[in-house]
Symmetry: C2
Subunit: 241 residues, 2 copies
DNA sequence: ACAAAAGTGTTGTACGTACACCCATGA
DNA sequence: TCATGGGTGTACGTACAACACTTTTGT
């Protein structure tokens, strides 16, 4: 048995089905989360932008924004490009989700490196773009390729990560009340949280800085906070950058 | 601004540096963890197999086992193949780690999908293979490419995951004592654990089944346990398989 | 008998949850 | 004045760390 470790040459092994690598193409897609408050007095909803396909594999269906990886472009850079082209915004959080490479996930052989991102809700309703629509992440239509599974996984990661990191701040503008922040958690987790306990938890975490401002408008004014940028939104282990 | 979502065609965007995708090749590598008990009365050590490169990029240096992704081969299948070629063993745990795709991580453009795996220590010392050597994971030489960073990240994931899942069982044979299991945790985490508290924690988790066997030899005999295969080694969210 | 590991019991602290209660504002 | 959300106080239960203690073997 031969040991194959070379990254610069490949010798056929046992089976002829291990064909040349040139047939494999690399794509980068991104699951972009934002928040949309329905015009009424509703709770905010987690939304993601999808793009309608205009070509043959799954023509007409909705798909995640993405594109081919450029030859002089890193993975994260490709995801950022995707994101800018779709939303026109800079993400407050961007992380690799997973690499999908099943043989039958596309008619041709495609390995998709999928990222997920958060964008603040400020201007995310900036629809100067054709063929882009924002969907409620919990009520998606049938998407192209395996993109439904991918979004499910991204949602799972989001809900998971919100429990042990401070990424929820990445969905809010610079100034916000504790009720705003709690609503983000509630929208992501899908359940109500106790306001009193939530306050103490997040106040004790050292990630919030109280300001002198208050939000007035209804009932007792609520203090405005801003995010403490000394702490990272999420730890990523010993990964580059 | 044009929105690009097509997975089947790529139109050049703004810059000519986004060249054709055919130059990009996809490799799969695997960080394989096992345990090695030094012959003396030592604590077990976390070890990984490395392969000496015999070709030009980083010729002679040690590198992670891996190879080119086959055209008819899924990502996980490619990692399994790698693993079998290196150790001759079936993994007790196999999970995708990360996709590395920086432009300058190799002289040619290579995107590496990296997996990490656990193999039980039974036969992992089966060195019928050339150019393969097992190294203490905490004392590695300088490796080829960015493989030192990759191993660091895999070690971080291992230490992390051992805290909230039962993957430690994946490093032990079918029957083991609580002291065996505790030693695995101690080897991975690098610190001693209280035997009394450890016992209660793991007994209460429902993942262990006590057998009638005991291990004798020194002092009071210890009960042998086996793993409860009804529970998964680790939850993976809504991922396929 | 003694050393050492196997195994049990007890206690204190930290933290999350539930919920009662007061405060400040708009209407 | 009342309704409502902002904000504080408190009691309970679980989880975990620390550590004293008993049990069972080999030597």
């Amino acid at each position: 048995m031969t040991t194959r470790t070379e990254h610069a040459a490949s010798a056929p092994l046992l089976s002829a089905t291990l064909s040349a690598t040139d047939e494999i193409r690399v794509a980068v897609s991104t699951v972009i989360f934002s928040l949309r408050r329905s015009s009424g007095a509703e709770r905010p909803a987690v939304v993601i932008p999808l793009v309608r396909r205009t070509r043959d594999p799954h023509d007409g269906q909705w798909a995640l924004p993405g594109g081919w990886l450029g030859g002089a472009e890193g993975l994260e850079a490709a995801a950022s490009r995707t994101l800018a082209e779709t939303t026109g915004l800079a993400p407050s959080f961007l992380e690799q989700l997973y690499a999908f490479g099943d043989v039958d996930r596309s008619p041709s052989r495609v390995v998709s490196i999928v990222y997920w991102a958060l964008v603040r809700e400020d201007v995310s309703s900036d629809p100067a773009l054709e063929n882009v629509r924002w969907f409620d992440a919990t009520a998606l239509p049938e998407l192209a390729f395996d993109h439904n599974q991918i979004v499910d996984y991204a949602l799972w990661r989001l809900r998971n990560k919100v429990g042990y990191s401070r990424i929820a701040h990445g969905l809010l503008p610079g100034l916000f009340t504790l009720a705003d922040l709690r609503e983000v958690y509630e929208a992501i987790l899908g359940r109500r949280l106790d306001p009193a306990n939530f306050r103490r938890q997040v106040e004790g975490s050292g990630t919030l800085i109280p300001t002198d401002g208050f939000r007035t408008g209804s009932h007792r004014p609520a203090r405005l906070y801003r995010y403490n940028h000394d702490v990272e939104l999420a730890e990523r282990g010993p990964l580059p950058r």
